[in-house]
């Protein structure tokens, strides 16, 4: 395919788009707290997400301690283990990763990368954050509610989720559902902003096909989220009614402890469909921004244009569309019709094609590039490795016959941690090391960053690689202790100790990162506006950190795509997007 994407020729039309009506803050409160500036909202989102993510991290230590030394901790009873698991999973997936990628990175990067002054609707954008904060507070409140947080598992499957056998059935599950509903409302407000801004508020010359892949990833993920969260919303509303009003949407007739409950005739499988119609796209809501960001990191730090830009865009869009027709691969063991299983296995494996294209393109971008092993680049490479690793086990689990014995074992836990836990988190880290100098005007410390990377990378493998093996042995998922079983050898217990030690070390490395974040804020090196020599617009702002309204009097004009690195015959090894073709350096 002969593609000429790097077209510097093309019309730069007159401005068609009015500028965002900025709100000029007059008081400290409207400038830093109830702020309508997307950059501040982004920081608010990120800090909140990381704070609640820290809770999820601590919960993972507690779970790991219990698994390695069962019976040692009187504080961790089996009910607590389920509560930890549930909160850990839900926080990591929704309140940390989704909020951080879309609310954090999205808010910061979309307007800057597109040459806009702000999001299309700054006021709604501000509301989005406050509703998100409320959702987080409601979630945290469940830790202090009578009975504690819910222990239903992050999938919240009924009927058990709301029956009295499950910990947190008193308040925990109600608060969890309420918090999710709030999250969805808050997200919708933000999401509408991101989509409209990308579609309608680009600066002159910024066609969709000149957008950096970061924006493509976040944009597609947001569109998907706007279409997938409705299913979760409906599921939550119906379960809330089942719990509070005694309706039977998801509840069949049940005899519990010899007593016939008042429920009858509902369909638990219906919830699974609703949940996974959201749940699978959710995986890509987290993955697509990561795909986009990692493309930009690799291209910038390898000083080479991204390989197959057009393909990358279509792969993102294609993955986004396909991921709405694969959800039932999470339900192979729900007793569904084998023909269904066949259909969903096929669609699942088809997704591997665009995904593989992306991986090849990343590798081909690196191929003979001028690779700088900066911290963002290290994390980007770490992402590729772990993502490929998790993707390969995904191919196993996508097939019905292989999945049936493996599902509900630690193999699944290992798979999804690799592919949607560790891999996107690496991109989060890489992204933070990359954009921190733009956000704060200072570099993060490189040595601490390298320590952080190596410990986290090797540690993540030490944690999750052995888990595959445990899963193949048949160690079940969501078990709080193994006890004496015939089919699990005693050595599994030693392996569990090893994993836990690794998990604690990895946890400690995150504290190094936190320290780095705070320390560098005042002590970091001040590198100027464009330390990485990047082409995209956010690095070309007149001030660093970008001021109110992002740009000076004039909006930037875009003359080229985002990947003019090492162009032969140019003075520097990069050409910013807003540099005209006729300039002497070209």
């Amino acid at each position: 395919m002969a593609e000429v994407v790097a077209d510097t020729v093309g019309s730069i039309g007159p401005a068609e788009v009015a500028e965002v009506e900025l709100y000029h803050a007059t008081s400290w409160l409207t400038k830093y707290v109830f702020c309508q500036d997307a950059k501040v909202i982004a920081i608010q989102y990120s800090v909140t997400a990381m704070a609640i993510g820290l809770v999820a991290l601590v919960l993972s230590w507690l779970m790991r301690l219990q698994l390695a030394f069962p019976g040692t901790f009187s504080l961790i009873q089996s009910e607590n283990y389920y509560q930890f698991i549930t909160m850990h999973g839900m926080i990591m997936v929704i309140y940390l990763l989704t909020a951080l990628f879309l609310g954090g990175f999205g808010n910061y990067l979309i307007p800057l990368m597109l040459g806009a002054r702000d999001m299309a609707f700054p006021y709604v954008n501000m509301l989005s954050y406050w509703v998100y904060l409320l959702a987080v507070l409601v979630l945290v409140a469940s830790f202090f509610a009578p009975g504690g947080p819910t222990g239903a598992g992050w999938t919240l499957y009924p009927p058990q989720a709301i029956l009295s056998g499950t910990p947190g059935h008193e308040w925990g599950i109600i608060l969890m559902l309420a918090s999710l509903i709030l999250f969805i409302i808050g997200f919708t407000m933000g999401g509408l902003n991101y989509v409209v801004t990308v579609l309608q508020c680009r600066t002159r010359g910024m066609t969709l096909m000149r957008m950096p892949l970061t924006v493509w990833g976040i944009f597609t993920a947001t569109v998907m989220a706007l279409l997938a969260f409705p299913a979760l919303f409906v599921g939550c509303v119906m379960m809330l009614l089942d719990r509070l009003l005694g309706t039977s949407f998801f509840m069949p007739s049940i005899v519990q402890l010899g007593q016939q409950l008042s429920y009858s005739g509902g369909s638990p499988i219906l919830f699974q469909h609703l949940f996974w119609f959201f749940g699978h796209p959710e995986v890509y809501i987290v993955a697509l921004p990561a795909f986009g960001i990692v493309s930009d990191l690799i291209s910038t730090h390898a000083r080479k244009n991204i390989f197959g830009y057009r393909m990358m865009v279509w792969a993102i869009v294609g993955i986004g569309a396909l991921s709405f027709v694969v959800w039932a691969h999470h339900m192979y063991i729900s007793g569904m019709d084998p023909y269904f299983g066949f259909f969903f296995a096929t669609t699942t494996l088809i997704i591997a094609v665009p995904t593989a294209i992306k991986v090849y393109n990343w590798v081909l971008t690196l191929w003979r590039g001028n690779i700088h092993l900066t911290v963002p680049m290290l994390f980007a490479l770490g992402f590729i490795v772990t993502f490929v690793n998790g993707g390969l086990t995904g191919l196993f689990l996508g097939n019905v016959v292989v999945d049936v014995p493996l599902s509900a074992t630690l193999f699944v836990v290992a798979h999804f941690h690799m592919v949607m836990g560790v891999a996107p988190i690496f991109v989060v880290f890489g992204g933070i090391y990359h954009w921190y100098p733009k956000v704060t005007g200072r570099m993060l410390d490189e040595t601490l960053g390298k320590i952080h990377f190596w410990v986290t990378f090797l540690g993540a493998y030490a944690i999750f690689f052995p888990m595959h093996y445990l899963g193949l042995l048949g160690v079940p998922r969501r078990y709080y202790e193994l006890g004496a079983t015939a089919f699990i050898p005693p050595s599994a217990a030693s392996l569990n100790v090893f994993i836990t030690v690794a998990a604690l070390i990895v946890g400690a490395a995150q504290l190094v990162f936190l320290f780095n974040l705070i320390w560098s804020l005042s002590k970091g090196r001040a590198p100027g506006g464009n330390p990485w020599g990047a082409t995209t617009l956010e690095w070309q702002t007149p001030q660093t950190p970008p001021g109110h309204g992002n740009w000076g009097k004039e909006l930037p004009v875009v003359y080229r795509w985002a990947y003019d690195y090492s162009v032969p015959g140019t003075e520097r090894d990069f050409v910013p997007q807003n540099q005209p073709a006729s300039a002497p350096t070209a």
Partner: protein, 240 residues
Amino acid sequence: MANPAPTTTVASLTRHDGWERFAADWSSDQRAFKTASWGKVMMWIFLLSDTFIFSCFLLSYMTVRMSTTVPWPNPSEVFALELGGKPVPLILIAIMTFILISSSGTMAMAVNYGYRRERRTTAALMLATAAFGASFVGMQAFEWTKLIREGVRPWGNPWGADQFGSSFFMITGFHGTHVTIGVIFLIIIARKVWRGDFDRERRGFFTSRKGRYENVEIMGLYWHFVDLVWVFIFALFYLW
């Protein structure tokens, strides 16, 4: 930077065909929808998302209705009114539907007069729309009361599957909430039109953004959507 002279455009204009042209139009400079304002685009996308919510509600309703083993209450009996000693099936709901569809008519006229900047007519038509909407919600409240008096509860009813009451109250309630929110905003915007806020681009109390006549049209999009959804609820709940 002053306006740079446009560079060659011809090449980039004639390059595409078929699907490529489609993609190129969509991805063209600055904005994807050349004629739509930001507010309208936002409303359209919101409505798309909301469509998914209603679809999930309705699909869930269809699923529980099909999977329950107990017979479903007969809608033409349940939703009948005694008129002159005889039960008339679906009469209330027919009136409600008629009212809601009419309100779409007045809304469309309001948008039209808004374009012509006829302040008072626009405001009056919006208030008429709001009145239609309010009477719809009122009749819905009447219907709920009637059913509750007859013993229908979210968790059960005298005639058959428990899920009848649950899905009925949930879905009509969710739709009724949409109508109520619509009525509130209709009144707010009608007041702004009446006062001439949009002619003077007066800033909003909360948002401190300039008011525009376009808000009438965005309101209209929402209102027509709520009506359209009702048609599906009507068909799937009352006619099935």
